[in-house]
């Protein structure tokens, strides 16, 4: 076992993490034991002037605990693992000389907890450097000292959103929060980190005015209120983390460790945790799942047909991910409206510091709006997001087929129409595929990749790889009514509408489903989607499966009266703040 290398460099030591036979550094029992032994040896050398901790991997510092181990460990085994981690990191914290973590690449979960046990942290400014404690997303909490140490370092009010939200930060944001002490170019990382050793052991700021048995519970109370609004009490992980962070920011640090340990042992046994872990593993699998053997073709320049809500949303997302996008619509005013939506997306991303002002400006530059029938033979992918009418889509695709290269992938963003019917009008129909994005595009991770009987393996492989490359999660579906999401969602939404039709209070219906764990109530969702769009999809499904569902007359009545949802100002709710 040799995952960690020690090297004496002049008067300070360097500890390099380099897990054998793996591209990532992870913590499991063996690594922790090895680290513990190395630290024992190191503490016997008080003449050292400092210790630098680094990773020998190209793009990962330490990616946390090995989740396969963590998700299966129970009872004594888990207790042992938690105690081992806490004790080992505490050994690091108690070394008699200063320590610094030189962070380049992912430094999350247990990786950050290790870094938090160092006196100083210096991070590289590379985009690969990601810093955070995502444990609560998996139903557990940082229990190797992270829940206790982070509030002590940056203060409880700053630490709570990071721990409860499981947020992952880029280096500059971590610097702004006070998690790391400096952000420098990767090439200068270790040399600069060494300069921190001269500062000596760190003395944490005295936060007695915040971190005391009177104020900390008040901070926690406010945070709990915000948290419960989001989780409705359905997620025990962040709640436990909140309680422990608030209690452990003062008093002996060992108390905090004890609380962390007790909490994670309880949480690990809960069904919510098992399901969240399972969801995580499924998502990871979906990210890597290879649907077909064919090689994906590279996709550069794209075109989006239609500058409506979906077209503009897709164009924004593609341009933000580095693609040039020809945005085509017949109407100049529609293009201007689409550009407004796109500019707003960039403004928001800029204010949330996702993009610098320059990055946002260059993203907007990558969009080329036009109402002219321009050649599209330099486009590798065309995504149609025009009106949901088969006759119009057929015209669009016949035209697209003529103005693209024979190998340009032609995709439709239809939510309900049968994709294969477009094959009739397209030359080389093996390049036809469905790419169904969801609204709002910049928030919704899932994209349905619809395969028609003619869709070639190469087209499918390219579409799947393309969806992944833009940071979305592809799910390959057959060309059947409702595809996957609407097939499941629509009967549920229609049933909610029927409850309303029978006199149900919309707020009560939505609240019941929120309590069940849905992120949004079904009637609210119908309003957001637009009743016209929903009715169209529902009708398609009802026609295909008349024995399974029917479309309530209510939808048509509401539509006829002009209540088509949020976009018209009213649907099931009136959008002036009160419900109907």
């Amino acid at each position: 076992m040799n995952h960690i290398h020690f090297q004496l460099d002049g008067r300070h030591g360097v500890l390099s993490f380099d897990r054998e036979g793996s591209s990532a550094n992870l913590f499991d029992r063996a690594v922790l034991v090895e680290l513990s032994e190395k630290l024992d040896a190191l503490s016997a050398h008080p003449e050292l002037e400092g210790l630098l901790i680094r990773s020998a991997k190209p793009a990962i510092f330490i990616a946390g605990a090995d989740l396969k181990v963590l998700s299966t460990a129970q009872g004594e085994e888990l207790r042992d693992l938690i105690e081992l981690g806490q004790a080992t990191f505490q050994k690091l914290a108690e070394l008699p000389y200063p320590t610094v973590a030189a962070i380049h690449g992912a430094c999350v979960g247990g990786g950050l907890e290790l870094a938090l046990a160092c006196d100083w942290r210096v991070a590289s400014d590379a985009s690969a450097t990601k810093i955070g404690l995502p444990e609560t997303n998996l139903g557990i909490l940082p229990a190797w000292g992270g829940t206790t140490r982070l509030p002590r370092l940056i203060g409880l009010p700053a630490a709570l959103p990071l721990i409860l939200g499981g947020k992952i930060l880029v280096a500059k944001a971590a610097r702004a929060k006070g998690i790391v002490d400096a952000v420098v170019p990767q090439e200068n990382l270790e040399a600069h980190a060494l300069t921190f050793l001269k500062r000596g052991k760190r003395h944490l700021p005295n936060r007695i005015l915040l971190h005391n048995p009177v104020v900390a519970p008040l901070i926690a109370m406010k945070a709990r209120k915000d948290l419960l609004e989001k989780t409705r009490g359905l997620y025990p992980g962040p709640e436990a983390a909140l309680e422990i962070a608030a209690k452990s920011c003062y008093g002996p640090i060992t108390q905090g460790f004890r609380r962390e340990k007790e909490a994670i042992l309880k949480l690990a046994a809960r069904p919510e945790t098992h399901q969240l872990m399972r969801l995580f593993f499924l998502q990871e699998r979906a990210k890597k799942h290879r649907v077909v053997q064919a090689e994906a073709q590279p996709v550069g320049r794209c075109a989006v047909i239609g500058a409506g809500v979906m077209g503009a949303g897709i164009a924004y997302w593609l341009s933000a991910r580095g693609h040039e996008v020809v945005l085509r619509d017949l109407d100049d005013a529609a293009l201007a409206k689409g550009m407004k939506a796109i500019a707003k997306n960039y403004d928001e991303a800029r204010s949330r510091r996702v993009f610098t002002p320059t990055e946002a400006a260059r993203g907007l530059d990558r969009i080329f709006p036009t109402a002219a029938p321009v050649p599209l033979d330099r486009c590798d992918m065309v995504i149609e997001a025009a009106v949901e009418r088969l006759d119009i889509k057929k015209k669009v695709f016949a035209d697209l087929a003529a103005r693209t290269r024979p190998d340009t992938i032609l995709a439709t963003n239809t939510s309900a129409l049968p994709v294969h019917e477009l094959a009739e009008v397209v030359s080389n129909p093996e390049r036809l595929v469905g790419l169904h994005f969801f609204n709002p595009v910049h928030r919704m991770q899932l994209v349905e990749v619809v395969r028609t009987p003619q869709t070639s393996d190469s087209t499918l492989a390219t579409a799947v790889a393309f969806v992944r490359s833009i940071g979305k999660l592809p799910v390959v579906v057959r060309d059947a009514p409702g595809f996957l999401v609407n097939r499941i969602l629509m009967p549920y939404l229609v049933e909610a509408a029927k409850l309303f039709e029978r006199g149900g209070d919309p707020k009560a219906i939505d609240d019941a489903m929120l309590d069940f764990g849905m992120p949004m109530g079904p009637l609210r969702l119908l309003d957001e989607v637009g009743l016209d769009v929903a009715a169209h999809v529902a009708r398609t499904l009802a026609e295909a499966f008349p024995e399974r569902m029917s479309v309530p007359d209510l939808l048509d009545k509401l539509l006829a009266a002009g209540h088509s949802g949020r976009k018209s100002g009213s649907g099931f709710y009136i959008y002036d703040g009160r419900s109907t």
Binding site: D332, F368, T370, D377
Partner: protein, 419 residues
Amino acid sequence: MADLHIIAGIRTPFCRLGSEFDGLSADDLGRHACTSLLLRTGIDPGFIDEVIFGCVAQPADAANVARVIALRSGIPEHVPAATVHRNCASGMEAITTAHQRMMAGLGDLFLVGGAESMSSVPMMFSHASALKFGELAKAKTAGQRVMAMAGFKPRDFKPRVGLQLGLTDPYSGMIMGDTAEVLAREYHITREMQDAFAAESHSKALAARDKLAEEIAPVHLPGSAVVKDNGIREDSTPERLAKLRPIFDRQTGSVTAGNSSQITDGAVALLVGSEDAVNRLGIEPLGRLTGYAYSGCDPARMGLGPVHAIALARQLTGFSPEDADLVEINEAFAAQVLAVLAALKNPVKTGHELHPVEIPHEILNRRGGAIALGHPVGATGARLVLTALHQLRETGGHRALATLCVGGGQGAALWLERN
């Protein structure tokens, strides 16, 4: 001399100072023109040998604005870019520079044009004031700061209006309008003649709206689509224009805001190249540049620049204005265009060997000129070439002359042909 083919061209709408393009920079406008042209031609921008753009008031935050335009238009990094400046002829300078590059064997396909945001020309502080601001920035202690601030006088906060400076010839000290007043006096151009000319510029542009639309690619700003030139007035009559007060010589002058070119934002992009390039791209060109000349003249009479340039171009090409099926003379000022026409009719006074020639009314500035459309100084030269070639296509004409006067005392004359 081999001809330079004008393969394709497009421009943004031209918008009055502080109107729809307010807030857009010259590089924004240039990018709109270039991306529209690249989209419509569908060419691979990697084959462009150089991007050459004219811009007079080059933005302080986009030095070598041609390079900024090129990169922001998605033109690959390996394609170089240069900005050229010959005042009002900068848009023509970009075209003729491409021709010279081609003749020197330095490439055969160029993206050229001009871009100007006159709305963005900044206010400036005098050098003496700037020094004081420098002192203030260097001050470290409170005492030093107080001392530095005490040095300021009210006049230090009076900005120098960049636009006004740009429209003033530093050598003669005359603002452009004053040079037009000189010509009005010397060539007996009355106020009535100027106003009638100006009103006609508007009415011609108004009548040519549909034709002008063919030169234009709409600009889709977030929330508003700008689809047409906004300086053209439907209510411009000699009577209404007569009510305006002279702005340069307020007591005895005749040059008004109404019979001068408008101060405007806009950009033009042209794809130009050799015959080989045309064949390679397979695009039917708009026409070609067959000859040209730039000539210097008295800065105080810069408005006569076209006459001098036409005379020099005649020596170089053998063409004189009677050979033209169409003539575009940039309308810097009505008085100035009318003075050019008068000088061509009676060239003895100019000292050039030219036949007296009267340019027929119906072939001059058929789609209106800068009085109606506006004069984004760096872009106008390229617009004249674009509109002249479009008009040759419209009329079936063969040869056109595009000429303009240049602040600082120069003229430019370009001869264009279409088969």
